[in-house]
Point group: C2
Chain length 121, copies 2
């Protein structure tokens, strides 16, 4: 069966929880996920994979051990594998993540913010 | 060295040719590419990989053997591997592609529109 087209912004209407990525599409063994961010996440890394952040609406920051990157709407960032990072957003921010299927949002850091994986919208 | 953040729309200012994808980022062995489309592409498929289209500005169509999908700004589509498709755009359209490094724009169809691969902005 052929996939349907996906309106990225409209998909956000279908969930409201923070820090809980939802899958909207799969390409080979990679997934595109949407998430709403607000407040502070936990320090973590993904030891086996890079992770792409794309800001759809709002702004966010990614804190690294040696610097902080501010991402505005329409900007993207590739977090290299194994690099500690902590996303945060003062105001609500809507993002799209691209990463291999199976990646857990908090990496190897188990936290109250660790969310269920592979949840589709 | 840590990557820099990427402003997707601004990157389009750096090229003007059509049907010639430019790499803006790499995630593991995948690449994010920008392209300007105008007019009609060639029928082709990618036998080993899915391919993601995301419309950044304007609108485009993807013709398949049995249907045509219209993509507006902010919409995405996953073309499954091996499926014949022919992108086209009546007016100029700016898109982002996500696919494995090494994918040739015309697949196994060699054409005047076959463009050099792995060209970075």
């Amino acid at each position: 069966m052929m996939p349907k087209k996906i309106n990225i912004r409209k998909k956000f209407d279908r969930f409201s929880d923070y820090w809980s990525p939802k899958v909207i599409a799969e390409m080979n063994d990679y997934q595109f996920k949407l998430a709403r961010l607000k407040g502070e996440f936990v320090w973590h890394n993904h030891k086996d994979t890079d992770e792409v952040f794309i800001v759809i609406e709002g702004k966010m920051k990614i804190e690294f051990r040696d610097k902080t990157v501010l991402l505005n709407e329409g900007e993207m960032y590739v977090v290299p594998k194994g690099i500690d990072h902590k996303p945060f957003a003062d105001e609500e921010c809507k993002i799209m993540l691209v990463e291999p299927k199976g990646v857990v949002n908090t990496g190897s850091t188990i936290s109250d913010l660790t969310s269920e994986n592979d949840v589709w919208l």
